[in-house]
């Protein structure tokens, strides 16, 4: 009897071992052959994969796991491909109900997809956050009509949820922690970021416009009802990447983007810059892209709740150190670098209404114009010139 049992067990073990590559091949084959309207089901269990799973040129396909805690796609042993899951040149695609982890590059990358839903997905790097983790956990780029809902992103050495060069995007009900950037919206238009929790990242939510990209201009971004707390994690981004310059202790940062409204957020215990509005000049990177506008404009920050009490800014970053020099342990909540685009001014020197920076009605919100264009001399704490609204 015992011999029989041992034999059965050996058979079972053998079956499990040899089944692994078969499952990978089966899933990839299903993805290649999926037809309009198909649902591809990922089985429950931990599935070890060696190569990118890839969906290309499909319409109306759903890829569905048995649940975030039941289907786990692990790329710990990945030998091929730069992503975990990739979707390209497709429309009306839904990925949902699974966990996906430890890809060598990005975890889920979608490019040229129109109509994308990512829902109930945990995308993470396991273990301590480190610079050898991949860049992005969830990474739609050059996509339109994107919904990222109830997803969790952990451990990205760049951004947990990163939407780049896209249009019409909702990021909602998501959780991001232990990333360099929790949520980042870059060169993307019409993005709503709401009801998310970004905590224990280096920076919570970043809204960036960068030069040298095919999609030139982001903007029309709404960031509301988010909990952006304790984003004081060390910056573990590899050098060369723009997020490597984000100081630990950053809540929300707007870099060179046009038309951004930040309201009704709770922005608590971010020690260096609870909310920063800055131009690309602050990065000290060269700008050679002639079509690029390096200034933020049309920024409205209102009705947010900030924390009381003292905050010691980081010393591990030039900006953080400068803040400590200027403000000690009481860094203002809303920081504006004050670098003004001369093209945005009226003849009398005032800023044209659509390009204003407006800061009003925030709970506990203190403010400083850093006068970075004047070598940080004559920093102004006066909020009165920024008590405005932006005409719609």
């Amino acid at each position: 009897m015992r011999i029989l049992l041992v034999f059965c067990f050996a058979l079972l073990a053998g079956a499990t071992l040899s089944a692994q590559p078969d499952i990978e091949k089966k899933i990839q084959t299903q993805l290649i052959l999926a037809e309009d309207g198909d649902v591809v089901t990922l089985p429950a269990g931990t599935i070890t994969l060696t190569n990118t799973l890839w969906l290309d040129e499909k319409r109306r396909v759903v890829v569905k796991g048995a649940g975030e805690d039941k289907t786990i796609l692990s790329f710990k042993n990945q030998t091929q491909g730069a992503e975990g899951f990739k979707v390209t040149n497709s429309s009306e695609i839904t990925l949902k109900d699974f966990t996906i982890e430890d890809a060598k590059g990005d975890i889920i990358k979608t490019q040229q997809v129109s109509g994308l839903i990512l829902q109930n997905i945990t995308a993470r790097w396991t273990g301590k956050p480190k610079k050898t983790n991949g860049s992005y956990a969830l990474y739609p780029v050059q996509c339109s009509r994107v919904i990222i809902d109830h997803c969790t992103a952990i451990g990205a050495s760049d951004a947990g949820i990163y939407v780049g060069q896209s249009d019409s995007v909702w990021v909602r009900n998501c959780i991001a922690f232990h990333n360099v950037a929790g949520i980042e919206i870059e060169n993307t238009t019409n993005a709503w970021v709401y009801d998310n929790q970004a905590y224990n990242n280096t920076g919570g939510i970043l809204i960036f416009d960068l030069p040298d990209l095919p999609k030139k201009r982001g903007g029309h971004v709404r960031v509301y009802r988010n909990a952006v707390t304790k984003n004081n994690f060390r910056n573990f981004a590899p050098k060369g990447n723009i997020v490597g310059k984000v100081p630990p202790g950053t809540g929300i940062m707007v870099l060179a983007t046009h038309d951004v409204e930040i309201y009704n957020n709770t922005i608590l215990d971010n020690k260096t810059a609870s909310t920063a509005v800055i131009s690309y000049y602050i990065t000290e990177n060269p700008i050679k892209d002639k079509a690029y506008i390096p200034y933020p404009s049309g920024i409205s920050i209102h009705d947010n709740k900030y924390s009381t009490g003292k905050r010691m800014p980081t010393w591990k970053n030039k900006m953080g150190f400068l803040f400590w020099l200027k403000f000690g342990r009481r860094v203002p909540h809303v920081l504006y670098d004050g670098i003004q685009n001369p093209d945005y001014l009226n003849p009398d020197g005032s800023v044209r209404p659509e390009h204003r920076i407006c800061v009003r009605n925030n709970i506990n919100g203190t403010f400083a114009n850093l006068k970075a264009d004047k070598k940080f001399k004559g920093i102004s704490r006066d909020l009165q010139p920024y008590d405005c609204t932006i005409p719609q």
Partner: protein, 347 residues
Amino acid sequence: MLMVVTGWQVALPDEAAPKNLLSEYGFFKGPLANMQPAEQVFPYEVNAPLFSDYAEKARFIALPAGQKMTYHPDQAFEFPVGAVLIKNFYFYHEAAHPEKGRRILETRLLIKEEKGWKALEYLWNDEQTDAVLEVAGASFPFQWVDAGGKSQSIQYIAPNLNQCKGCHSYDGKFVPLGATARQLNRAVDASNHAENQLVYWNKAGWLDLPADFDAAAAPRLADYRHPAESPANPAFSDPLTASARAYLDANCGHCHNAHGPASTSGMFLDIFETNPERLGVNKTPVAAGRGSGNRRFGIVPGKPQESILVYRMENGEPGVRMPELGRQLEHREGVELIKNWIRQMHP
């Protein structure tokens, strides 16, 4: 395998079903492994090959009887429906001794259909008598002795059909890569005498070449493997730049151009790019992540060891290495060429 093949046929009910065996197409006469082209099948050579872990490639074009390719100066040639591009991947058992025989691993077909190009992948059997259709790709250990006499072993990867398109993509549509004027405009040994490949095909009735075609003035990539024999390139005054740009065009430019999958990066490495910033000179990375290798710019003039481009060419890790697909080993000669090119750039 049977399931896979059946699935594929179901997926394409309105088209000619792919054949299960390579031999069924009749591209070659005699034993398949000898690759003796049949009627309407002829070999082609490229100026600047894509590096694929030191694999050798035997390339052929099959045209339907009485049909021709149409010349285009800077995009892929037009092919008639039914045309097939055939690429066979093999290794000599010992790279320094081709006479000791070779192992053919895979044959990739690009078939021109009404709707566009379709890729098919065939894996050769151990007996080297035939190759079998494979949809989802394959991976197996493979060993050979390299040109330096050193034993090399890799996990050989035959791509799945999506991976084919990972490179063969222009605005999201499947395109051939090697069938361009700049790749094919070269001297070949045609019927035992040297002749321009395109001119020869024109005479043979396989290619529709403009009447005023001038091989010397037409686009041409330098043969980076044999720079000394490569004729002067009208677009680049110095031979090193001509070789380096040809290398980048063939190995990177298919993705890194404004219409390719790497357009997101803003770094364009195709032969037509003239803006130094877009080529990567003092350009910060966009989404490179750890692929930056802690370096700040794509290309730092004069300093190959500070250039991200070189880091990613030298690295073998998935997620860092470039190209993303089709390479595991470092292409030492290619890296050396790009380093030399960057070294002589003026800061």
